[in-house]
Every structure is written in C-alpha cells, then in structure tokens.
Symmetry: C2
Subunit: 193 residues, 2 copies
Amino acid sequence: MATRTDTKEKILDLAEALMREKGFGEFSYAHLSSELNIKNAAVHYHFPSKDDLGKAIIERALQRFITWSHLDSIKEMRPKEKLAAFMEVYYKQNLDYSFRLCLIGSSAAAFPALPERMQQEVKGLAETILGWLAQVFEEGREKWELNFNGSAKAMASVFISTLAGALQLSRIGGKSFYTTTVEQLWNQLLVKH
Amino acid sequence: MATRTDTKEKILDLAEALMREKGFGEFSYAHLSSELNIKNAAVHYHFPSKDDLGKAIIERALQRFITWSHLDSIKEMRPKEKLAAFMEVYYKQNLDYSFRLCLIGSSAAAFPALPERMQQEVKGLAETILGWLAQVFEEGREKWELNFNGSAKAMASVFISTLAGALQLSRIGGKSFYTTTVEQLWNQLLVKH
DNA sequence: AAACATACTTACTAACTAGTAAGTAAACAA
DNA sequence: TTGTTTACTTACTAGTTAGTAAGTATGTTT
C-alpha cells in the first residue's frame, strides 16, 4: 500500500520512548517492528540505519524545544515563570512516564557508544537548551527574580546538570528523591544573600 | 594450569572501566576476553552470568567506598575537607580517564535494563554514599564551614545529582563544562547568606 | 600416589543484532 | 492506461550475544 501513513512518526515516538527508558543501545529494530506490528524491514525503509534513526530522534527534539521556546505564551513570561515552565515540562515529560530520562541525559550517558552523526546532533541540542537557560538566568538576575553568584552560564550548567542527574538518580531513589532534590535546587535560587 | 592468578580482578577492572565508559549493556564477554587474551569461557568461569559480573562490580565499589571513608586520614578531616576529598576522588577516578562516568551515574542511566540483583546492589551503594554525604553536610553546617538551607539530606541529593549530571554532560560539553559547573556548585556552598 | 580442586581451553549453540535484495500492492501523475 | 513513487512484506545474511558441556593441565590435600 502507499496510503499516507504515520508510521514514520510512530517509529520515532516509540524509539524516543525506548531510548529514554532503556538507552539508545538497548532497543532493536525488532523491538520497534514487533510493537508496531510491522516488519523490521519497514523500519529500515524509513530509517536505513540506526544512525539515521538516532539522528532523527534528536533533530525532532531540537525542533520541539525551539517551537516551545518561541511560543508567545512562553516568551511573555517573566524569567522565574519561564524557569518554572521549563521544570514543569521536564518533570511531566519524564517522571510522569516511568522514569524516562531526558534525551540529553540519555545521550550523555551513552555518548561514546552513539553514532558520530548523532553525537553532533546532541551537541547542538545541548547548546541550544543551555543557551536558552543562561539567558533566562541572566534576565532573572537583572530583574531581581533569581539569586545566584557567578556567571549565568555557570548557573545554567549547574541547573541542567542537577535536573538531569536527579532524574537519573530518581530511578534508584524513587520519585521522592527527584522532588526533594529539585525543591532544594529551586529554594537556593530564591534565597536572598 | 591452576596457579594463583589475578584474572578475576583483571576482569573486574576491565568490566568496570567498560561499564563506566560505554555502559553495562554495551560491552560483551568477547570484549573482556579478547582484551585480556583469554577465552570467553574463562570469563564465564569466574562470573557464570553477566548478572554475577554486574553484581560483583557494584559490590567491589561499595567495599572500596567503605574502606575509603573509614580511612583515618579521611575521618580526621574537617567537613569541608572531607567534601573536597570526595570531589577530588570523584574527579580523578572519572574525568582523568576519558570521561568515564561514576558507577552510580552509569547504573542510574541504564537502570531499567540492569539485572535485578544488580539493581539492588546499586541501591545499597547509592544509599551508603548519600548517607555519608548527608552526615558531612550536617556536620559542615554545625561547624559553620558549609552554608545551605533545607535539610542536609536534600543538600546531599543536590550535590551528588549535580556531580553525576555534570560528569555526564561533560561528555557533550567537554572538560570545561565539568569544572565550571562544579566550581559554581562549590562556591554556592561557601557563600554566606 | 591417588583424589580432588582450580583455572582455564576447545568447540559449540540458540537467540538476537543491524542490514539487504527482491518482490508486491496501492496511489498518483502523464 | 502506462509508468512511477510510496510503503511496505518476504526471505535472507553475516556478525555478535550470553551461555554451556566436555576436556585438560596444573597445583593441593590426604
């Protein structure tokens, strides 16, 4: 058949979910095809190699983030609200679904084992997110909404590292580990010093 | 031959290094045996299943941490020094060797894909380290050496999450990402507020 | 000296891995 | 209505995976 289908999107959805649950190296074309009731060659049709699939997962995530951050509803927010919105998305997209990691965290953990083209894509994604966060922190400090010493970029690095790390460790320590950790992180940003 | 050998230790050393470089699911008995110039059945002789191997890696790491933390030279330290010593070990054992992760981070990232017995072992290791850190933070605040709000346990959670996260993200952002991030984390602990 | 344990090797297997070549059926374009 | 493109399926392969059964050489115990 040649009817317009959404198979490609479905493959991407499932592959991304599996990558965040188990890691990029821990799912196979067989997993994808059996779950979607197609043959593994159909997956190869849309994504000839696993490199292609991996690259596409990250590309799509980057587009998603760009779209989100350019939303009027986000752009209109004050810095503190932006940060809270980011954390909200982060929490919802990840911890709501059986301890799925964020793509950055999942990619970083398996980085040396990832296809090179995928590594490049991941670098772009990380830079974009970190850049956005640094801007929010800068603006937040200027407007006296967020408190921290040092550069906004360094603070953004701590912020994303803590979120990603806490998400991963919450697989060991449970959901409460995540909420405790992130609350502590958040409170530190509000304390006047 | 049946001469006393250190093959078992060598296997553990290599397996741990590979686990931290690539992840537990990303190395095979063939990798181990070819690197050590033995046959894969020899690895199975010492560690019948990969579950056994994984469990042994974590058990050994736990023993190593306990031994380290019970060292007189560590016990005699003041809280701030203890924390600095922990960070020193963390940095040396990981970033000095081509972006190897810590075992907690590597385990957390692949957690759902790990053998169950290994998961249990990882939980024990994480609890032990977190407990030790929480004590150090508590003592550090009492003695006015470390500054933070909230509970010592929460602060310890932020601390270890940030370290583990920064280590992972440094694979994407380079060594400077790690040093920037950890310096920012450290400075926050010293700021009076 | 005999029996046993240790530390392997040789030789194998069943299951799974990404990937391919060739065929097919439907939709679409000329 | 013929040709082309899309979206697959069927059928396959070469390589890798963890794991096993049986044999062997050495050292240790009795």
